[in-house]
Subunit: 406 residues, 2 copies
């Protein structure tokens, strides 16, 4: 990981400005033995130009062979070793919708689901009900009271909500209640440690579940709920402190806002329907206020998960087309990368190293890459490197690190 | 090293099947400035085809610049950091001939040697006596009794034997008695630590040596013995536990069986005269029973040690020719590599990174390598990586690892 002691010692509060553009799940695979990857196949004249001018390489998100989840993969891009900062997704999701997680709080992700008369799950996502109907279900359970605890339930998107318990003597060491299967009832909450506080919290959650079941009876298909990813305050080191950066995040999905907020970024308002060009406009509008902007593009990953090679390539082309708007801001360092690979061929995240491009016209070392693609990046000047080294590289190229020693 | 906590957390007991084919001492050097290496010179149409289809790279067995022994080099291939798991060769040799090393046992490797009338060594290997004559020498010393200790002496091959002491209060912290030179007498056993148990064990070993000298008097040229590589039970984490693999080993030499047994592999019967094609047949015969098979080819290393460039290349060609038998098993991941380099030019193991090929047609990322050779591997998609990362990569490509985080 980025050596935070070293960064604290070397980081300067002056220097150039940085854009970190992350296309989620950017890395891909050829669909056929002789084929191209999504990124290689996409027509990307702007990215290719940056690759010709700057340095490319392949980043390893967690460790060789390890398929990353989105939360840890982003932490790695921000310089935090995900094996050290192993954060429950409940905290990320809650933070993403602006629900701060403080010391002693317990957060979880929730799904509304559909159960049959015997209580067995028949749809884990309640038919993916729309946000409007889900909001009514949220209102129904938000009024539940628990002894000695402040309870907040808040809609995330469609069937998903976030939950926060605040009070004394809580512990987030709980197993998921989501059985991740249909045909079985949700599990009761159960402590995953022997701590009395964990047992106490499990009991509170079970009271919540029992009351929720009553209150949701008439909200079919959202007539039950499951909880998972119980998490407490991860108390992460902050960008301002470690890197001396004044950072902001432009992202559409709550999870990415969540992880950004956890490291100290301001979250810039966005709209769920933002295209890449809309997101870049938000970056531009806020550019004067920040010296580091993280901009997250979700749909490369989504189309990869769909197994839709062409659609993923099309999202990359959208980004490429909109890119001049970012370039016109004259960032001192621009990094274009992914948090992990999501090859359409595998319809899933994967462990393959991620194509990465570092463009910093005043300081970058040009290599021989002629375009932006996996196989050009293999021979790129950045080599293969842990994703956690990217932030120090970004700072260095923006002259934001002091010399080490005399 | 492979992070065992992480592997224990992520490894699945289902997924694809893996073959790890190790040509001992595979890496080489050109004999002349403009020449090719052994692997580059060998005609290897099958390996070249796999290199074109899959990913190549260079593996670093121990650390940059460090020339590996065979034991630690294999541990690294199995994901065990040899700097952490620093195992005496005595334990490897003993395990290799089926002599289990349990907690508190002390094992060592032995050589029969020839001494003159004054007790000085004149041949460190007793003229490399054949196994039959050596077995008689082993019988002569196997009857020695030591107070409070169960002693086993067992023939390995030619002049080599293994020794195991089992009893209370033993410690394997002993120096070698083999002076690794002629013209001097074998050293007496001596403790390498201050532990009383080590001094006690040294005394027992000296009793053994004194009695052995008497009993070997008429066994010229095997009229004396030396001991080295004193070792205890290394208690290694097991493949089944760490990687959730059901593993087997096909190897001809005892040491490789030994290290495989130490990590939990079943040892498949083999014959000392097996050619690569015979070994591949043994892999095929046992393929249904295992999800991981390690297959070890010894003679690339032996011919490298001989300084015989052409003969080493010929062994590689033998392997290439026999390779279709392995491919016909349809492994999900096939890795072809060496444990270290043994350039004929140097007549010795060397520290040079080892050409490595990963072929997993459902999941590999093709790179631009057009053949299997050192210089193609430099630009390969796996980059240069610690050998200990190979097992996680093999698991990932066979879909045997869960995602890390959500």
């Amino acid at each position: 990981m980025a050596n935070f002691d070293l960064m604290r010692r070397l980081a300067r509060s002056e220097g150039g400005k940085i854009i970190l553009l992350v296309m989620d799940g950017l890395g891909g695979l050829p669909m056929t033995p002789d084929g191209l990857t999504e990124l290689e196949a996409a027509k990307t004249p702007n990215l290719d130009q940056l690759a010709r001018e700057g340095s490319t390489g392949l980043s390893i998100p967690i460790a060789r062979g390890v398929e990353p989840g989105s939360g840890p993969a982003h932490l790695a891009l921000f310089g935090y070793d995900p094996l050290v900062y192993d954060i429950g997704r409940g905290a990320l999701e809650a933070m993403g919708i602006g629900l701060a997680i403080g010391p002693g709080d317990v957060a979880a992700r929730g799904n509304f689901c559909t159960v049959d008369d015997s209580g067995k799950i028949i749809d884990r996502r309640a038919g993916r009900i729309d946000t409007e109907r889900a909001t009514k279900a949220v209102e129904a359970v938000a009024g539940i009271t628990l002894p000695g605890v402040e309870l907040i339930v808040r809609e995330v998107k469609e069937h998903r909500f976030a939950l926060r318990l605040r009070g004394k003597g809580l512990d987030h060491s709980l197993h998921d209640t989501d059985p991740q299967a249909t045909g079985v009832a949700p599990f009761p909450a159960k402590a995953s440690s022997n701590a009395p506080a964990a047992h106490h919290t499990a009991e509170l959650i079970n009271q919540f579940i029992a009351q929720a079941q009553q209150r949701l009876k008439d909200h079919h298909p959202a007539n039950m709920l499951t909880l998972r990813g119980f998490a407490g305050d991860p108390a992460l080191p902050q960008f301002q402190d470690v890197y001396k950066l004044n950072p902001a995040c432009v992202a559409v999905y709550p999870m990415y806002k969540g992880v950004s907020r956890l490291v100290g970024m301001d979250i810039i308002d966005s709209d769920a329907h933002d295209e890449p060009s809309d997101e870049f406009k938000r970056v531009a509008d806020n550019w004067p206020k920040y010296d580091f902007v993280f901009c997250h593009i979700k749909y490369t990953d989504s189309r990869g998960e769909d197994g839709d090679f062409d659609a993923k390539a099309a999202v990359i082309e959208q980004v490429d087309k909109a890119l001049p708007a970012l370039l016109s801001l004259n960032p001192d360092t621009l990094i274009v990368t992914g948090d992990h690979s999501t090859p359409a061929k595998l319809r899933s995240h994967s462990w393959h190293p991620v194509p990465t491009l570092l463009w910093a016209p005043k300081t970058h070392m040009p290599d021989r890459s002629q375009s932006f693609g996996e196989r050009e990046c293999i021979a790129g000047g950045l080599g293969q490197f842990p994703a956690t080294d990217l932030l120090p590289l970004a700072l260095a190229h923006a002259h934001r690190l002091e010399r080490f020693g005399a």
